[in-house]
Each structure stands twice: as C-alpha cells, then as structure tokens.
Symmetry: D2
Subunit: 400 residues, 4 copies
C-alpha cells in the first residue's frame, strides 16, 4: 500500500458519523471501510437522536464522551469550533435526513460522504449539487458497488473500445432473502427501507434501483435519456413498490433493461451487469466480484481476474492483495473511502487532486439518479409510456 500521501499529510483524517448506531449494519460497514486502509480515525458521532443510545454507541466505539452528539446541527457547530474538529463526516442515517445533514456539514467546511440514495426528492438533490459546488468541499455518494476493481476494469475496457460501441446495457439487482420478501405483520418491526415516509413511495427504486442506475452509467459511460417503467407491489402489507422493470434508452442509441426487486425469492443478492457492444460483451456478478467475463464475439470467453497482470490502472489502484486471494464487499466499499481520503488530504494540503482518486460517485451522479426515479415513477403512472430521464444540470444550475 502506498502511504506517501498520508505521510506528507502527517496524520489520519478525523472522521465523524451521522447515523450508523450500533444496531445499524450500514454504520458498521462504513466504519470497516474507513478503517481498512487506515486513512481515518473516528472521533465524533451523532449516532442516535436518543442521547443515551448515542452515548452508548460512542462509548462502544471508544469515542470521547464530549464528542458524542444527539443532534447533527449541534455536532456540526461544536466540531467546527474545535482545533481538532472533524475533517470528514459520513452521513448514513435514513434517507430523509441526508439532505439537511449534508448541507449542514458542507457549509462548515467538512467534506461529506453520504450513503445512497442521496435524497428522497429530485429538488433536494439539485440543492445539494449547488451546495457542494458553492462550498468547494468534496462529496462522495457511497454507491459502493462501483468500488469493485473488476467493475472499474469493465469501465476501462469499454472506454478503450474493447467491445466496440455499446448497444445493450442489462443491469439487475433482484434481491430475494426472506427479510426482503416478507413484510412484518407488526408494523413497528418493519424496516425503514419499506416506509414511504422515510424513502419515498418509489421504494425499490430508491434503495436498489439507484445502484442499478449508477452501475449502468458508471460502467457503460452512457447516461440514460428515457425510461419506460412497470412497477408493482407484490408483498402483502408493503407500502412501497417492491419490483420494477425498466426499459431504458441511453445516449448514442444504446438500449437497456434494468430490473430491481425485493421479491426475487431465493436470490441472495443479485446485482449484475451484462453489457454488449458491437464486437463483444462484458459480464460481472457482485456475488463473485473478483472475476469479470470478457466475451469477444469471435473467440473464447475470458475470465479476467482481479490482481492479474494486464489489467487497467483503475483496477490495479482498487486492488490490495494478490490474484487468487479474493477481495470482496468491504474492500470495494473501502476503495471509495481511500479514494476520498486521497482527495481530501490533497485538497487540505492545497495539492492538485489525483484524477484517479476521483472515481467515487459524485453529487451530480446522485442528482441524475433522482431524475431517473422521478421519470420512472411518472412512466409507471402513465402505463409504461416513455418519459424523458435526462437531466441538464448545466442549464438548471445556470437558471437557478
């Protein structure tokens, strides 16, 4: 591992968290990701609105008692006054709080790592784009699956023309474990991801479909420009959509199919992409993330393997261990944290940003995804009619 930048910076970045208490799986995931490459020390947190629970979490995490907060605004204010205040904050609370929390820290000079989906509504997302640009701070949306080395390899191969012009973009994320397929009969026990008040009525599109959309754009290098959607709620007692079939048109005439589901019963995860160009295809499955299939249309399929000689610089940068020693979910997540750290340290030292460190999803990516959700919801309501899904951010920001 290359420690040169951190040595120049002279210390680890000071990290705070909003959300991610001890019962939160996603919080622990962020913490493991932050620890893996040793660029951060967790020094402050607003882990719960309930002060007692927040303090308990802080104690468990060995955080000083005076840096455990029960209100993110108070945290932002207090930390900004300390000489050893946080450099970076991770926002991993339920979706409906992302917008306000991110704004609060951005305006106090803190770089923000935000869990997905970025916001519930498109206008909030556009507001965040403005805020990030105005603040001059860094912002990362943790579409963690794009952190996988072989996902980055796929993007690099497509960018290099290895499968020719892209024609078909098939991305799926059909989940099917029992906790997703069945809705608790006791409403109090239901997860907030199924609560329209917390995530919006689009449900599956916010929680799962955003990953699908980001993956499609990231790997193909193409933006979605129109969508025809069919959404349904299959699970009794569920109040959000839990299955969405989207047919999409992308820039350059490519077409695609996006499938997001909570009710693909029996699946364990399900995220995959298959992208076909004029002369070949690329296929990847999150459940076997160290392999990427390159399929030329006139020769044997090749199993590209993480850590192999001959991969792209982007894949090599995102890889830690030798070929054959699998890396997985945590490392992919940590790649976003490591890239972000490299960018944040450089920014704070006034150095030029290493462009290869900027592979993490941006606030603009988040806004485009919210646009897709909005368009798909409209298409579904209009019985599958094609709806414009393009987002002209330059125009909007200019007008606004």
């Amino acid at each position: 591992m290359d420690y040169a930048l951190r040595r120049r910076f002279g210390r680890r970045l000071r990290l705070g968290m909003v959300g991610g208490g001890l019962a939160s799986l996603i919080g622990e995931t962020h913490r493991m990701a932050a620890r893996l490459d040793d660029r951060y020390e967790l020094v402050a947190g607003c882990f719960s609105a309930d002060p007692a629970r927040g303090r308990a979490a802080g104690a468990d995490l060995l955080i000083a008692a005076d840096r455990t907060y029960s209100d993110f605004r108070q945290m932002a204010e207090a930390e900004s006054k300390r000489s050893d205040g946080i450099d970076v904050v991770t926002v991993c609370s339920p979706t409906d709080k992302h917008h306000a929390a991110a704004l609060e820290f951005l305006q106090r000079g803190v770089d923000v790592i935000c869990d997905k989906p970025m916001t519930v509504m498109l206008d909030q997302a556009i507001g965040l784009v403005r805020a990030v640009r105005k603040s001059g701070r860094l912002f990362c949306l943790t579409h963690n699956y794009t952190g996988y080395p072989m996902v980055r390899e796929a993007r690099a191969r497509i960018g290099a023309g290895e499968i020719g012009r892209v024609r078909l973009v098939i991305v799926e994320f059909p989940i099917g474990t029992s906790r997703m397929v069945v809705e608790e009969s006791d409403a109090a026990k239901r997860h907030w991801r199924f609560d329209p008040a917390r995530v919006g009525a689009a449900g599956i599109l916010g929680e799962v479909g955003t990953h699908v959309h980001q993956m499609a754009s990231f790997v193909s290098g193409l933006q979605v420009v129109a969508v025809s959607a069919t959404m349904a709620t299959f699970t009794p007692r569920r109040r959000v959509y839990d299955n969405a079939f989207l047919t999409v048109k992308l820039e350059n005439g490519a077409q695609g199919s996006f499938w997001s589901s909570y009710v693909a019963a029996g699946n364990e995860h399900g995220l995959s992409f298959r992208i076909h160009g004029e002369t070949g295809g690329l296929a990847w499955r999150q459940e076997e993330p160290n392999e990427l299939w390159l399929m030329p249309f006139d020769g044997p399929q090749r199993r590209l393997s993480r850590g192999q000689d001959g991969l792209s610089a982007a894949a090599e940068r995102a890889s830690r261990i030798r070929i054959g020693h699998p890396e997985a979910f945590t490392e992919a997540f940590a790649n976003l944290y490591r890239d972000f750290a490299d960018a944040a340290m450089a920014l704070r030292m006034g150095q030029a940003l290493d462009r290869s460190a900027l592979d993490f999803p941006s606030v603009e990516d988040g806004a485009r995804t919210l646009k897709l959700i909005e368009a798909a919801t409209a298409s579904n309501e209009r019985k599958g009619a094609w709806v414009d899904a393009s987002l002209d951010l330059a125009r909007i920001l200019n007008e606004g």
Copy 2:
C-alpha cells in the same frame, strides 16, 4: 428404455421430411432426434425444390429414389397412395412454407411435426388450429427446449406449489455469436432467418422470442395477457428487428421480462429462465441443462440434477442415462419425437393416449405465440403502450 409400445405396434413409424436438406442444420437435428430412440425410419422426403439437390439428399440419406420429391404436395399425394406410406411428416422448411405444408399432410391423414415458429401470421396459425382439430391428427411444434428433463422438473415443481404462487417470470434468449451479430454484406449470403419475406418483420420475435414465450408459459403454467415492447434493429444492413425487450403481465397477477436478442455479442446461446414465487425461485440455463436450481427463500440453494432420486415423473420420463452422465440438446429434442411417437402409435392402434406422452408443444401453443408476436409488434409501434396479448381460442373457433 421401454420398448413395450413399439413391440405392440410391431414396427417403427414411417417418417417423411419437408425441408431439412443436407445443408440444413435443423434438418440434421430433426433426424438425430428421430433416430435416437429408434421409433422412426426415414423413408421419404422433399428436401429441396431443386430436384437434383433433393435426389442427392435422398441418396445420402439412403432413401429410395422414388420417394424423394421436389414438391411437398406431390409427396403428400404419392405417399398417401402407398400401402407403406409415411405415418408422420416433419416440416422444417423456412417458416413461410409451414402453413401450407402442414395443411397438406394433415388432410391426408399424416401426423405432423412442425418446426417453430409455426407460421408467419396469426391468421395462418388459427387456420392450423382448425385444421388439426378437424383432421383428428397429431401435431407437435418443436419448441425443443421444453423437452429438457429439468425444464419439465421446473414445471412440475411449480405445479406442486413448491415456490408458492408465481410472481415473476424472467426468460431470456440473447444470442451473440458472430454469425448472428454481423449481417453479411453480400445479400445473397444472408440467412433466411433475417429475411422479412420469409419470417415476417418481427424477426427476432419469430425465431427466438417464440422460444422465450413457450418456455415462460410451459414452465410457469401461466399465459401472457398483456405486453409492453421495445424493439430495435442494431445491426447495419439488417432488415428485421434484432433485439426485443418485452415486459409482460401474466394470468394471476404475475409479471415478467422477456429478452430476445441476436446482438448480445459474446454470448454463445443464452436461453434461461428464472421464476420466482412467494417462497422461492427456480433457475435454469440451457447451456448447463442437467441442473435446475431450487432456491427456497429461507434456506440453502439446491442444485437439482437430472437423473437424481426424487424428481418428478415428467423429468424421469424425459431422461435416459444415469445422474452425472450429462444429456443435452439432442436428447431434449428427441424427447419431443419420442413422446410424439408414443402418441402416434397409440392413436394408430386405437389405444388411449398416455397423457404423459403429450408434453410436446401443441398447435394451440403456436397460435398463442403468434398472438404475442402480433401484440408485441403493435406495442412497439405504439411506443411501449400495453397491448392485450390474450387469445380466446374457444371464442374464435366458435365464431369462425
């Protein structure tokens, strides 16, 4: 293998062919399928409209010179006059001839095996339904992929409620070999499957999408009732659609996604289904046909294997060799021929038909598929609007 029925019948069925000359891969496939279980002897054929080529094929196939014909009507007439005339005819010429040839033989008392798609137009398909019913003969549409033992196992499991009520039906057949992805620059060298005059403008839907539709209906036990389609032609010089994304609604509220493609560059075949019900899923891929994945939503995924103890009677009937000794494409195709032979021998002996022998796709299945093609084409022309795809054959036949 059980030879009891054939012993009672006392001989092999006499088989004729229309189409399937020596250059035809599909012809040879039918012949291997007919030979494997030794229920047929090929004794007559109309292999080509060109008499010399037809005779050469007949000689190669060791068929008597006077039973090689250059016109299927002449063949039907001549064979029907012989005391040793054919019992069964296989029609495997290009699609546009299926309708006339099948009618010709049906009305002369010959049982018909017909390659897919059944006809180019829906009205021809309905005409064939009438003709079969009127003739009292047997008719098999060779959707050969439904002959796989593990496909039949999947149907049996769903029928037995093993995954609960079906919610999602995902069937794909995205091909991507170079011969499919690239259209010959010399029009004379192009395959008839890409000629709208031979297969209809729907192109991919006739050749490939029909397999998708038949597989979905066969395995799920549900009919498609509506479709929203997005079709495209990606390949330069191609004159038919070569990619189709269909979103479908099925009986009972299930939804599905059907993908048919000639341009999934790099794929070798691609046919697969994934069907999810309330409590689990079933997944199968044609390229590894001996395994069927049963995925309960609350426990380990199980790899059901052809030849295993505990499979359904339908799967056992369709299997010849022990577990671990793979069967494949030819055996699946042969299962249609064997089932058809059992039905044809029983019919000719005036015996009751064994219902388990009637698992082959029917003329009605063919008509329903033509209806889907028509509906999908209309939906695509109407920009993805939902179009009724149900076919009320009882009403139509009654009215007609």
Copy 3:
C-alpha cells in the same frame, strides 16, 4: 453431417451385440451411440444366456427371431455363414467374458467394439493384442470419455505445445452416488461390478481406474512408467477395492496423481483432468463437457467452448451441433461408433483409412491399462513401493 463415405458403402453396417440385454444400461447406451449417426443397423444379438430373456430382448429390439442367440459362439458361427451376416459386433457383457467373445468374432472376420475394461487379466489382454493383429480386423475399446470433443481439443492443444512440456497430470474419477457408496445387504442384489469373480480383485481400478488411465494417456500423450498405489475397501460387505490413490511417473519426467473411488459420497460423477505444463494448464470436467479451460500462466483463463471457431480439426470432427447447443455423453459415445464405422467401411471397401477416424482407443491401450492395474495392485501389496508400469508390447509380441 458428412454422408459421403456411407453413400459409397451403399448401406449401413450390420451390427450384432453380445450382452446388453434390456435390463442393461450399458447395452442401451451402446445402441443409442450406434443409432445417433445412422451408420449401423442392429440385426443380431446374444443378449442373454437365458434363451427366453434373449428372445424377449430381440423382439423388443425388432430383431428377427432367428438372429437372437443365447450363446456367442453359436452366434459367431451362424452369422458368419449368412450373406447378410454382421460386420461388427459390440461386446458389452460383464468383463470376464470379453476376452473369449472378442476372440471368437475376430477370427471370423467381424470387427469388434468392446466395452472396458478390456479383460480381467493382463495375459488375456496381450492375447487380444495378438489376435487383433493376426486377424487384420478393427478393434475399439469403448473408453467413451475420450470421445468428447473438448477432450480431443485438449489433446490437440498439448500436442501443439500450447502449455509447454507437460509436468503434472491429475486425473480423477471419484464417484459417490448412493448405489456406489452402499453395498446391498442381499448378496444376490449386488451389481457384478463389485464381484471379484467377474471383474477381478482390483475392483475400482478395472471399472473406473481404467478410464482414468486412458484419459491421462490420451490427453497428455504420455505413458505411465511407474506407480505407487494405496488402495482400500471402505464399504462394509464389499469384496473389491473401492478407493485407490495412485501417484504416477510418466514418460519425460512428468508426474501425476490418479484418484478412483466409489466412495466419494455425494459426488454425481467426478471424472476430470487437470494437466499442467511449463507455461499453462488445461482443465476439463465430464459433468460440463462442452467447456475446456485453457489457463496460460501469464494471462486470463479462457473458456474454450465446443463448436467455437478456432478449435482443432479433431474437436470439429467430433462435434455435431452449433456452439451453445450442448452435446453430451451420448454424442461422445457415438463419436467412437462413428469413427469406427468410418474405419470399418473404408476397410471393407479396400480404401485407405482416414487417420482422423482412428481416434478410438485401441487394443494396445487396453493392454497398457491392464498392465497399470497389475502394477498398482502389486504396489499396494508392497505398501506403496514404486512398481514399473511400462509395457513393452513390441518386445512381448516379438518374444511370444
């Protein structure tokens, strides 16, 4: 399919069988293999020593009553007197009868296809080598697994130097279905494959280990020259060895490991090879026979696929259907029958033999395998000491 040779020959070969009655799976397997490519018609048989059972089998198989025999010597004599007597006989009785039956037909001018293992004892095997050479007839030992196209591809790649000089040859055939793992408590119900009187005491080595040895030699192109063996009987009531670990030395300094087992409980089949040379490896599993992995040591692993452009002539010859449409066990078995037919027709027409038709295992292969069995048994008795396994046939035949 190429019918030119058969057209010149003017008819199918007349085939007889010894063994392979209706209860015999292997008999039916041979019959399907013989039928698939339409080079044979089954016209005579000695299916059982019990005349009634033999006649019943003949009737089921539509064989004329006067050509169903209950003694193979009588069959050989009667058929040799007919003008339409058999050209080829398949011997698929239990092992202990192979030697006598093969001799009988060879000396009457009938070409012989013989199931494996060729004989129980090495001296019988050497006797057969002499008899074949003296008779001038053709002899095929049905090590059917070498009939797979991708097995032949592997041999061709190694022959072409694609993985460099071979260093390691790992071949396994560890079976584990319940019928293999458990020995019937009722001795009368036990399969003859577990009866030392029928197969010899080496047990597993005759039935299974012979396939391992033939595969290793066929693919690597190297003969085994020494063996160190550890054999065991794990199953209660079993009277033959049911597990054998062999370490072997091959020509040219290569080493290998051969594992044969009836007690790898839970396996469905298990035959596989992995061969590593100086610069790469090749791996194949019988349960997914259409793919062969080519693994260069410095680049991505490649999944070679049956039917693909760029494969060897040997693989193409052994393949019938397009890529993506799997072939399997029956086709591999049929490849031996087809090659043998091509050789037998040419021989009978006085034509030069097509060398590519001679890929089937020979009587010499059978003798070498018996030598390995003998050597392994000796090594096991001498506690794993290395024992010479080379067979200098030239010297033996010269001396004898």
Copy 4:
C-alpha cells in the same frame, strides 16, 4: 459487531510487528487484518534490520520514531520497560527468524501472533510449544485460511456427524501464477520462499503444504498418522521442492490425498478441500470462499452460503456482513486477529476465555505440521515408503 469486551477492556490492544516492512505483502495483510475489527493499534515495530529502512516504514505507518527498532531483541526489551508497551507482537519475518523472535517476546509477557510455517525444524517447534506453555501467554499461528466462516461451518457439520464418519480427505493447494512457476535467473531477485537457507529444503511443504495439513486436520477433526510422499523440483534453477504429492492415513482409518504445488501453471490460487464421509461430502474452494457445498449421497447438492440462516455458531461468529455481500481473504485473516484479541483481552482482565474465541491455530498445531514435513521428507527419500507422522506431544513434553 460486538464491542462489549473491548469496552470493558477500555482500549485497543497495543500491537508490535517483527518483519512486515513496506515491501512485504504479508506485513500489510497482517496490518489490514489487525485494523478491520479495531481491536489493535500498531505502536511499535522492527520492520527491518536496516535502521534506515525500518525508520522509513515506521514513519509511513505513523509510528513514533522511538518505537521503531532494528533488532527484535532490543524491541522486546525496550517495550517491556514502557508502561504503554506492546501487548501483542506479530512475527512475520522470514521463517528462519520465527523461533527466536517468538521466544524473546513470550518470555517478556507479550502474546504472540506468528506467521506460518512456525519454524524451519521440528525441534524448534517443540521448543516453542514448551515456551508457550511455560510463559502462560497466548500464541496464534496464522493459518489464515481456517478463519473463513465456511471452513468453520464445514468443521461444525462434520463434528455434528452430517456426512457420517469421515473416510476421505482431499486437500490441495496447487499454485500456478508466473511468479511461482518461473525462477528468476538473477539469484538476487529470487524470493526467500525459494531459498532453502530461509525455509528449509522441503520448500513447498513449509510454505504451502502446511496450509494443506492444517486445513485437513482442522476441518476433518482428524490427525494424520502416516504419509507416503513423492516430491519433485520441476522448475529450472529452483533449489527447493516445488511439487509434492502426499498420500496420507488419518486417525480412524480415513485416508487422504494432499497436493501442494508451485508449478500448477495457470492456477490462480488453488486451495480446496473435499471431504467425504459415509453418507455425504463437503467441498470448498478458497477462490469462492462464501460457498460451501454439502452433498448428501442421496439428494440434491446444497450450496451453503455465508450469512445464511441455520449455519453454526462458529460460522456466524466469523461473519460480519449479510448474505450475498461477499466477505473474503482479509476478513478470514481478521477473524484470527479478532479471536486472538478477545482471548488476549480476557486473559489480561483475568476473565475466563470464551472457548469460541480459541478457534485460531495453536502452537501445537504448528508442531504437528513440522512433524508431517519431516515425515514426508523422509518418505520421499525412501521412495514413497510409509512413514509415521504422528506426534505424541504429551510424551515428548513429559520426557523433555
């Protein structure tokens, strides 16, 4: 994650390292493993015998300058005098230094984590057993592959009798990347793993075979009692064995096959086990570590999946993230560190040790592995003769 024990302990364990400088992949691996679960802070190190290189590593790792040492004895002495001295040391220098370094820290009250192989010679290993017992400290040998959750699941299933009494234990670790297959022509560039002076002449058995042996014993619960070995050096210029075929006998009459190789050209990693008992088998491959195949001999094979309901407590303890979100090499390695931390914290607080935290390989395991290496080397020298591989530690320690 459960932080309760750490909260009671009140701080992270203070960790030192011997070896593992910046150019060392294994050093960084240990550091990631130590960081992942946040039980350690790295505060001291002897990263190089060259003071300048050691200081550079310490600076990169943000270690205080006065705690970077160039001699492990000096480090042990200096740290033992500090009130904030290290609690735990990781020894990951080349093998020949393990023995002395481990002794040095044990006698100063530091718990020791030691990379494998434990020592070069068996007598050193036995000496370490004595030293650990005398010191009362904890010792972990980082056979990291036993840290995988599904490896622990396999052990639990076998322990529970799920496949019946174990008969066959097949473990392989055949590597084949170019850096293993080819020996540098410049001797100065060769890795120390190929230097007999650093690792002993057994070569492959120390570096790779030890993992095979530990895996076999750990999962099967059986010790090896005898070995017949065939070892070879295939690579030009190589001075240690680079391939070893071992046939082994285990307690209770089980037999097995162990294959270790540097020359399985084209493999990426290769570690796997297949264990068969009376009624079924279990199979696992390190390259897809989240799945474990349970293969009952009478029913469908089951793909057990990390994170699934119904797994053993040992597997659950070793797992962090939900099913479908793959964990891999780093997490498996970290499991040893986490378990060790739990034991070390409890020991230092005078609490009873949680037995489930003691799943890490012990000093006794290391001694048994050295015994196997010695026995295999002797067997190879005696041409494969069976050699006793059992180690009666109780007797030896009593006598010594």
